[in-house]
Each structure stands twice: as structure tokens, then as C-alpha cells.
């Protein structure tokens, strides 16, 4: 299943040349590879010498980079992170001694993956946000020339939102928005919208999403790209604002008629959020419990790999099952919520009266 992948280096780890240590290899989005010697790395591009010719690869086209001389565990790290196994990634990273890392880019990879794993664990309730925030902050402060920079900036913003420091988060998103890439601008706009929603500033959030939708986009040439995903994310965000504004029918129409109908089923994260939003909209309507149930069940059955959405879905499912007289199913959902997401805020959220 194709997961949406950021520009971070998340290589599959399979099918790479037998002698991985001999050259640098950039894996681009769409699986194309560029092998050569990395000559320069910045926050916006990577320069690679391919048989004497310098190719400039923009960072938003890079999936991952395998560096000459890096420890073999790094492949496993990338592989684990790509499939959501952040804890496994940390386990692999623990096997690497940082002192043995000599090459700057490899050290940056090491530091970045460690910080990112912690951050993703923390964001889904399985780790400490403060510690993760420190790690990311340190990376962002000290590695402005890394090709991971913008992703680190976005993650920093996400952690600050989780810590309810939204104004600070917006500053980081503003930096992302200042990048030269439209798809990163879109990401920034979507992140900004989410942050504003966290502050219940729905009109501003909606404006942020509308701004994303104004960024130039070619549906023919950009189909299946991150830009398309971000547009859907913006539409989704807009419907979430509509829902917050009690415009449930409009939100439902948009979600069912546009977002879910046209979104690639493999865009798990967005699909999950779309169904959670849809479920919340239906749940707010007096006769919408069954439709809400089906919406949340989509997340539980199809998109359980998206932790935040899955936790919210499980909580809602437990309440809906009880409302519909199926207490045993409600209890089972609560049990799974407790077991799978022990630190999730949904565990302590009270059942609505």
C-alpha cells in the first residue's frame, strides 16, 4: 500500500545494490534512483556527481539517500520508519554507536531519524513529547543544511501544537511556507490550518486551507503527488472547519462527494482523517448515529495503521455501540483503545451524556 511519504530519507532497503557502501544513492519519489557521489547538501537541494555531471535534485523529490560508509542498520531504520515502526527504528538506532559515525550527512541522518521516531511516537501517545521536542529542536537548530531540515521544521511545529504552544508552532510553519516549493507551501498551509483548528480559530483555519487551494495545481500532471494529497488535506481541513461551525450537511456533502470519492484508498492518513471527520459530522446530527458508526468503522477496519485517527475512532465507536445497545462491542473497542494506545488522550475522555 502506498503511504504518503515525506521528503525524508525512508528507503525500502530492498533491491539496493549489493555493495551499498561503495556509492551514494538517492532514491527519488516514484522509485527512480540516482547513484553517484553527493557533493553538497542543503535544505533545498542535494547535488550529486553522476559520472562527472552534477545533478541538482530538489529535496521535495527525494525519498531517501543511502550514503557510502553508513552502518548497515540505517537501511533497517529507514525501512522500519517507512512502515510506521518507529520503535523498531529506535531499536536499530540503538545498535549504532554515534561516535563511529564520521560522515556529516550520516550523522545528520542518525540524529534526524532518532528525533523523528521519538516525535512520531510521542505524537501518537506512545512517548514523551518534551523529550521528543528537545531532540527535534536540537536537530533543527544545528542542521539547517540538512535535506531533512524542512521535515524537521514541520515536525517541530507539530510537537508544539501537541504542547498547546500553537503560536510558536505557527512560526515554524511560516518557515516551511517560506520554502521555494509549492508542495511544501501546501504542507505548511495545511499544518497551519490544523494548528489554528487546535486553537478553535476556525475562520482563520478555513482561510489557511483556502489559501492552500489557491496555490497552483495541475490535476493532470500532479495526480498522485504530494501536492494532490495536500490539496485533499486542505479540502478535508475545510470540511473540518465547516463541521466545527455546525455546517454538518455541507461538510458531509464535501467529504462524501469529493474527498472520499476521489482520494486514493492508499492515502491512509487522509482517508482515516476523512472518515473521522465524516463520523463526527454524522454523530452531531440527531439521526446520524448509524452513519457515524459506519464512518468510524471504516477507520477501524481499513485504516487502523493511522494511530491518531484510529484512537479517536475507537473512542467514538465504543460510545456509539453503547448508544445502539451493543455494549459488548463498545467494551471491546475500549479494551483495544487501552491496549493499543495507552497514552492516548482519548482514554481519559469522558463519554458524552
Amino acid at each position: 500500500m502506498k503511504k504518503f511519504v515525506w521528503i525524508a530519507a525512508l528507503a525500502l532497503g530492498l533491491g539496493i545494490a549489493a555493495d551499498a557502501s561503495a556509492i551514494d544513492a538517492i532514491r527519488k519519489l516514484g522509485n527512480a534512483r540516482v547513484s553517484g557521489t553527493v557533493k553538497g547538501v542543503s535544505a533545498t537541494e542535494v547535488n550529486i556527481d553522476v559520472q562527472g555531471t552534477i545533478q541538482r535534485v530538489p529535496v521535495n523529490e527525494i525519498e531517501s539517500i543511502q550514503f557510502e560508509g553508513e552502518p548497515s542498520e540505517m537501511n533497517l531504520v529507514r525501512s522500519a520508519m517507512k512502515s510506521g515502526g518507529d520503535q523498531s527504528a529506535l531499536t536499530q538506532l540503538a545498535k549504532i554507536k554515534p561516535a563511529t559515525l564520521t560522515r556529516k550527512e550520516v550523522k545528520q541522518d542518525y540524529e534526524f531519524y532518532a528525533a523523528l521516531s521519538q516525535a512520531r511516537l510521542a505524537l501518537r501517545g506512545a512517548g514523551k513529547i518534551d523529550a521528543a521536542g528537545t531532540a527535534i529542536y536540537n536537530f533543527v537548530s544545528n542542521n539547517k543544511d540538512s535535506y531533512h531540515y524542512f521535515q524537521a521544521v514541520e515536525t517541530m511545529g507539530d510537537l508544539l501544537v501537541a504542547l498547546n504552544k500553537v503560536d510558536d508552532a505557527l512560526k515554524y510553519y511560516a518557515e516551511l511556507e517560506a520554502s521555494p516549493f509549492d508542495d511544501l507551501k501546501m504542507r505548511a498551509g495545511v499544518a497551519r490550518g490544523k494548528a489554528l483548528m487546535a486553537q478553535n480559530k476556525f475562520p482563520e483555519a478555513q482561510a489557511a486551507y483556502e489559501a492552500v487551494l489557491q496555490i497552483p495545481f495541475n490535476p493532470m500532471t500532479q495526480k498522485g503527488t504530494m501536492a494532490e494529497s495536500q490539496r485533499f488535506a486542505a479540502v478535508l481541513g475545510r470540511t473540518q472547519c465547516q463541521a466545527s461551525n455546525k455546517q454538518y450537511d455541507e461538510a458531509i456533502k464535501e467529504l462524501e462527494g469529493n474527498v472520499i470519492a476521489n482520494l486514493n484508498p492508499e492515502e491512509s492518513e487522509l482517508q482515516a482523517q476523512a472518515y473521522v471527520t465524516l463520523g463526527n459530522c454524522y454523530n452531531a446530527k440527531p439521526d446520524g448515529k448509524k452513519a457515524a458508526l459506519l464512518s468510524f468503522l471504516h477507520v477501524d477496519v481499513l485504516y487502523a495503521t493511522v494511530p491518531a485517527a484510529h484512537a479517536e475512532a475507537l473512542w467514538n465507536l465504543s460510545n456509539l455501540w453503547i448508544d445502539l445497545g451493543k455494549n459488548e462491542r463498545g467494551q471491546e473497542c475500549l479494551n483495544r483503545l487501552n491496549r493499543l494506545y495507552p497514552g492516548s488522550p482519548w482514554i481519559t475522555k469522558k463519554r458524552p451524556i
Partner: protein, 1074 residues
Amino acid sequence: MKCFGSRLLPASLSAGRLFSAAALAALVAGAPPAQAAEEYDNFLNGLRQRSYYDVALDYLDSMRNSPLLSEEQRQMIPFEEARTSLEASRSERDPIIRDKMLDIARDKFKDFVSKNPEHPQAPGAETQLGAVLVERGRSKVEQALRPEFEKQKKQLLEEARKFYTESEQVFKQAEEKFAKLLGTFPKFMAPNDPRVAQRERAKGDLIQAHMFHAYGLYEKAKTFDEKSAEFKTALTTAAEKYGAIYKDYRTLIAGLAARLKEGQCYQELKDTKRALGLYNDLLGQPDELKALRPYKASAMYLSLQCWTADTEKLYELAALQADEFIRGSSNDELNRPEWLAVKYYGALANELFAASFPADAKGEELKKKQAALDNAAEFAESVAGVTGEYQDLSRALLQRMGTQVDKTREPRTFLEAQNRGTDEMGKYSASMAEAAKQTDAAAQQAKLKEADEHRNNAVALFYKALSLADEATSLEDKNIVRYYICYMKFTMQQTYDAAVVGEFLLKFYPNSGGARSAAKIALACYVTEYQNNQAALQSGDANAVKPLNPEYDRNKMYAIASEITKRWAGEPEADDAWNILLAIAINEKNVPDILLTLGKIQETSEMRAEAEMRAGSTLWALYNEQLSLDDGDPSKPTPEKLQELVKTANEVLEKGVERRRSKLDAFTKFTLPDADAIRFLVDSRIALGQNDKALALLEDPKLGLLALVRAGATNPAATVDPIPFETFKLALQAYILNGKVAEAQKLIPELNTLMAKAGGDTADQIAGTYLNLALRLEKQIDTNRQAGNVEGIKQAASGFKFFLEQVRDSYLVAPDKYSALPPEKQTMAFQNVNWASDNMFKLAGDLLNQPQVAPADKAMADELLAASSKIDDQLAPLTQPNSDAQLIVKLRKARAMRRAEKWADAVAALKDVLNGRRNLMEGQVEAAETLAASAVKTSDMTAFDKAIGGTAPDDKGDNIIWGWKRIADTMRRVPQFAVPVKPESADQAAAAKYAEEMAQHQAFMNFFHIGRYNTALDYYQHAMAITAADERSKLLKAVLYTIDVTSGITPDMGGPTWKAKYDELAAKAKKAQQ
């Protein structure tokens, strides 16, 4: 008839998975199914995997017209609905709901096929109909094996067989169809030939049909006794079928799955050698093919069963094979159900192998023995900790091996505690059964004490089990334990404890296996407490514990019944609950509750008719009870309320009896409650004036009580006393009220015969009957009189007359017979006959007092008056001369004569009365009125003079009949004519005396004015009756003079009423003078 391992076959072999196109493809292709990428399919399958069948059906319904689906997917929706319902039926424990699901599945498959006959899935859907039949058969077999269906076991198994047989036909037809279709494809086709997919589908359909067919044959065998020839034949047939499938498809997983089942068939036929040979075909398959591993594991444990069977006893071989297989399996396989079975049977094999060594084994033998024991323990331990079918068996094995499970130690898992609790519960039941058989009191007590201990242990263990439950413990198991607690507590009469648990299951887990029974227990508990509390409240025993909140249990009863209705609306549980509450309401005669609880019992319920009849009968009885209260009784309801009650009773009885009609197609089917309800209905119709309907019901060919009573010999139970007697009474009344006197009279001989058969003083009973019937009609007529309803009186008149005559004939006897009666009987006879005469007289008066008297009414009135007079003539001699009783009789006769316009007779009678009692003012007034009336009617003007001046002089020339003037003069002369002096003091005695004197004064004044006014009136009437002017003028002057004089004597003219009359008369006289 349990088939070893049938539940542990790999998922692809259970019927449900065979439906899946993907799984089918796997069976056909021998490779794992390709991933279906469509979200709709994934979601639907995901819901089914979670057993969220209800949600899956809702989802399908919601997607029916969704633009998100392709046309192909939309077409398949009925198919998916059918498939979902069929899968759902397998996990449904409630047989009623399971059958409903199978009905839905069948209907949906049929619907799909009929609407899409050309669809590629249509043939498969037809095969599924056969699968539905197989499931129905399995459902019947499951039911047959349950202890509560022991009596119906044979019938259920026969029904199951029918379903299997029917399914065989479906599968045979499907096989023929698919085989034919498959034959149309060329043997060799290019891989890119578009017909390849069709051929594969046809092949898949054919294999599916074969597998279902074989499965149905296999299941059918379970409907026969294991020792019977039919069982052997059926299983052999199934084995051959499976064998044929293997032969044709040995390279596919389906073929290997069939081989496994074939082996199982022979194993169940005790042909272990053959079975082992067949299992070996699977065991020899390579391990690399992952999809085959579960089949191999199944083959292994089945082989272990065979090797360790008494017919083989190849323990060492079994132990070695088990060891090799288990140790060669991967970790993620070892906890799968098939491997748990391998481990258990492997442990068993090792145990048996170890036991085959002598007790004093030494050296190499001892080593082998110890190794076997170690292996056995290792395998058993690994299974004993896993919840499932083999957990207990493994524990038992460990116990046998010497790892004793101490029964006094605390259980360590939920399942252990549950199992031990269930054991104790079984021992409790057994002890109770034994106690019931004991004839010796001491022995019985001992058994009861034993039962008590087991019960206490059971409850403690069940609570322990709940405390040990963890996330892995299934909710269904927890709820079963809760139900056991509820039941045990109920038997311990800890009613509130039991009720709490029962209510918990009802509210939160109504679909759990014990919920319905638990709900009934909860209701029973609150009913018990309610009744106990009511008894305490009403006992009057100062020491009885009174409830603090008497309404609590009552409210809970109703709440539980409502909850039951909410959960199981339309099902017997709901109706049962309300029926129980109805019985309580009936017992309490609580009308609102009776109507409420009755209304909650479904109209379509079998018990509704009987409930209505019970309720209606109670309301009718209540009506009669309240009607018979004295009018002055403050607890007697108003006439309006009584009317409402009788209408309600009637309505309820009408519905109940009508509902019952269809069941009562022969008199032999009547019950006593039926007869009672029908007679109450007749009676209530009469009370409501629906006399024709009452008679119609009595004479109804199906429900008619007259016919029932006459055919009483065919149904003695429904015609016990007082049914016959009451029926005839009702019939008498109904005939009379419908004016069919002749038919009523025809009943009398039957009634007499009935009375004679019943024995006792029949004459008295009959007389009492007529009197009671007459009294009932009198009440009715009195009510009409008060309401001024003459028509109502007339309707009842002929009937009333009939009964009054019967009363007369029953009680009036010749003087010599009368004097021979004991005093109390004399009194009763006199009173009853006097009453009859009086009522005849009054009834005549009602008829004659109409503004316009129709000839028929006049005729009846004359008859009544004559009859009354005749009675009075016979009564008078029975009384003491000049006694009050005689005076009453004679005076009535005189009045009757007057009403009958027999003037001379009337005056003579009055003369007779007044002769002995001149001062009888009533008589004097009656006489003067009679004379005046006769003057008006006969135009004999001298009668006016006599009315005014008196007549009938005695020996001394004194008029026996005084006339108006003397009446008034006499009144004027008595001391009471003067107004009494009001006492000045507030003395109570003086005040009382004054009040009495005033009452007397007013009575005398009244008579005075009667005399004076009627004097004036008669003058006037005389004046108006003549034409001679002088005479007329004179008389008119006399009118005014009389009035004038009266005003001089009593200036207030006797008060406003009299004054108005005087004034009116004076005005008329003055006008006539002009």
C-alpha cells in the same frame, strides 16, 4: 455424535469460507488469494470477519444506490446480503433468530438468482441455497442434542434429515449444471484467452458444489445413531463423495481438503487403518506451501487419534510423530487451533507411551519412559494455559500424570473457576434430585445440606471466575457465569441479588445466551418481593416487617417488563412478562393496571384471548360487587363510573371471546373459563341494554351456552355448577327482554328439571331465582324512572311483568297452606307477594302517566292493575284485621281500582278501609280524589258534591268518606294547626321539640290546604263541566269564596307553592266568569 476435529478444520474447509470467491480461487488454484483492492470489498469483508454482520447488512443497504459502486457491485448486493446472513446464522445461538437469518439468506439468494439469471455468480448463488438447507439441518441437530429438547429429539433429527436430503438435490443439480458448462470449454486454451476466467469460475463453482454436497452428506450422518446401519451407510456415502473429489482435484487444495474429510469419515467408522492411509496423503505434502500447513496439522492430530485408538495402540510411533511435527513448526503456528490439538494428542500419545512401560522399568526403558512423560507434560502445559477446547483436557491429563490439581486451592484462571463452578452446580442439582427421592426425613435433610454446600461453592467459584476474567476472556463466557450466579441466587431466595444480576444481563447484554432466562428471574424476584410486602402490609401483624418503600418492587416489576418488551418485542418473553403482571393486577382488582398490562400483551399472541377473558371476567365481577353496594355507601361509585366499568368489562370480554371463537369449533373444546367468560359477556350485554345481542350469543351455534349446557355430557368440566343454572337464568332474562315470553316459558320445565337434578329445596331455589331476576329488572326500571326514561321502562315492562307473575305464583299460597308455614316463611311470602303487587301497581302507573297513552300500554296497565288487585284480594285475608299490613293492601287495591277507572269498586274499597280507620288521611284524600276523578270521567256531577262534602254515612249518619271540606276543617281544629312557639332558650331538647312540632304543624297545614284547594278545584271543575249559566256562575263564585276564606284563615296561603296554585285557580275562575 460429536465428530472429532470437525471444528478444527482449517478455515477454508468450514462452509463459510467456501463462499468467498477469493478462498474458492485458493482452493482451485492452490495459491494464496490475490488481494482485492476495492475499499468497498475490503470494508465489507472486514465487517464480516469481525462478526459485525448486522452492520454489514446495514452497510449493504446504504450502498444499494450509491454512485461509489460499480454496476457490477450493485448487482451483487443481494448476493452479499444473503452471504452475510448465512455467515451470521452460524454464530447465532438463539435458534429463533438463526432460523430468521437463514430465511433471509434463502430469500436473498433466490432474489439474486431471479433478478440476475445470467450473472456469473448466479449458479453459485443457487448452490448457496443448498448450503442454507445444510445450515438448517445443522441447527436442528444442535437443538436435538440439547437436554431441554430430549423429548423432541427424534422429530428434530428427522427434520434435519429432510433438510439434508433436500440440499442433496440442490447440489446434484448444481453439479450437473456446472459439469455440463465446464464441458463446453475446450480442454486447452491459451493463457490470454478471455474464456479462461469463465472456465475457472465454472470449475470453482463445480468444486464448491461438490464440497457442499459432501459436507451435507457428512452432516446428515450425525442424524443417525452411531451404532446404526444408517449411520454407517451415510458416513460411507460421504467418504466416497470426498474420495471422488480428491480423485478429480488432487493437485488442488480443495482435493486435499476433501482427502482429509474422507479420512475423518473412515475414522468415525472406526476404520483407522484406512483413515491413516488417507491422512498420509496430506502428511506427505511439502512444507513449503504455507497454505497447506493447517491441513497438515489437522491430518497430524487426526492421525494421532488413530494411532492412539484401541484398534492401533501405536503409542511410540504417535509420540515420535507428534514430537517431530511440533518441534518442526514455527512459533506463530503453535498457538493456532490445529496445533493445539496436535499438542494435546501428542501429550496423550506420550502419556500412553509412558504407561506402556512396566512400573519398574530400568535403564534405557526408564529413560524413554521419562522422556515421554516430560514431552507429555511439556505439550500439555503449553495447551493448559490457552483458553480453548483442549485446555481442560490438558489439565486433566496433567492431573493424571501426577501434577495434581488441588481442588481446594484457588483457581488460577477464569476458565478453571468457571468449570469448577459448573461442576459444583451440577452436584447441587444432583443432590437436590436425590433429596426429593428420600423418604426418611433425616436422610433428606442430609442431602439438602449437601446440596446447599455445593451451591455455596458454585456461587463462590463463579464470583471468583469473574474476578479472574481478563481481556482475553470472552464476553459470552462472562455472561454465562453471570447467568449462573443469577440462577443460583434465585434458588437461594436471595431475590434482590438475583434480580440485580438478571437486570444487568437484560439491560446490557440482552443477546447473551442466558439473558432471557435471567430476565425472567429478575421479574420473578420483584414479583415475589412485591407479594411478600403486600402480605406484610395487609397482615395486621404488628411484628411483620413492613417495607420502607412499598412501591419500589411494583415499579421494578413494571420496569423489567417494559425492558423485556423493548428487547424482545413481539416475542413470547414480552407477553409472558405482562401476563404475570396482569395476574397480579387481577388479584388486586386494580382496574387501571389490568387495562395497562392487558394492553401490553400482543394482540397476535396466543395468550391474548385468555388474558382478555380473565381480565374481562374480573372487571365484570368488580362491577357487580360495586353495583350491589348500598346507595348510601360512600365507597359506591357514581352511576357514571359504574356505567364506564360495565362498558369496559363488556369491551374486553367481547374481544376475548371473539378471539377465542376460532379455537372453539366443538363443545368438547370449551373450558370452564371459556364458559364463564361467555356468560359474563351475555350478562354485560344485557346490562348495557344490548338484549338482542345477548340472546344471539346465547343461541350462537358455536359459542352458545344453551347448546353447551344441553350437551353437557360431552364436556362435564365446562358445565359444572353454576354454569347450567346461570345459563338458564340468563336465557330467561334475554328472552323476556326480547319480548319472547313464550320461549322464556318453554325454558321453565328445563330449569325445573335442572333444579331437581341439583337436589335441595327446588321450589325455594326457583322462587328465589325469579325474585332475583325480578329485582334486577326492578333496579333497571327504577333507574329509568329516576331518569324519566319512559321508553326504558316500557322496554323492561313485559319482562318485569312476567317475573312478577312468577314471583306471585311462587309465593302466593292458599290461606290454609299459608298458615301452615313457619313464621319466617310466612313473612317472606307476604313481603315478596306484596312487593310483586306493589310493583305491578307502580308499573301500571308509569304506563298510564304518559302524556299520550297508547292502546297497547293502556291494555298492559289494565292487566297489571287487575293482577295487582287480584293479589291484594288474596293477600288481605292473610293479614290481621285492621293491621297496617291489611290497610296497605286494601288501600293499594283501592288505588288500583281507581287507576282502572272502576269507580264504584274503588270507592267501596276505600269505604272499607276508612270504615275502620276514619283518621287515615291518605285514605280520605284518596277517596275524595277518586270521587272527583269519577265525576270528571263519568260526568256524574254529584260525585263532585260527594268529593267536597263527603259521603257513605255509617249507622250513625256520620260520613265514612269525609270529603275535602271536612278534611280541611278537621285539620283546622287540631292543636297542631297552630304555629308552634319557638323556644327562647338555646336548649337542645327544647329545640328538638320545637322542630318536631313544626314538622307536625306543616304536615297538618298541608292536609288543610289539600282540603281547601281541592274544594275550590272541584267547584271549578264542576263549573266547567256544566252549561247552565246560573249554576256555573254560582260555582265559580264558590271557587273564589273558598280561596278568599282560606286566605283569611291562613294569610300566607300555605306558602309560595300553594299560593301559586290558588292564584292560578283564582285567575282561571275569574276568567271563566267573564
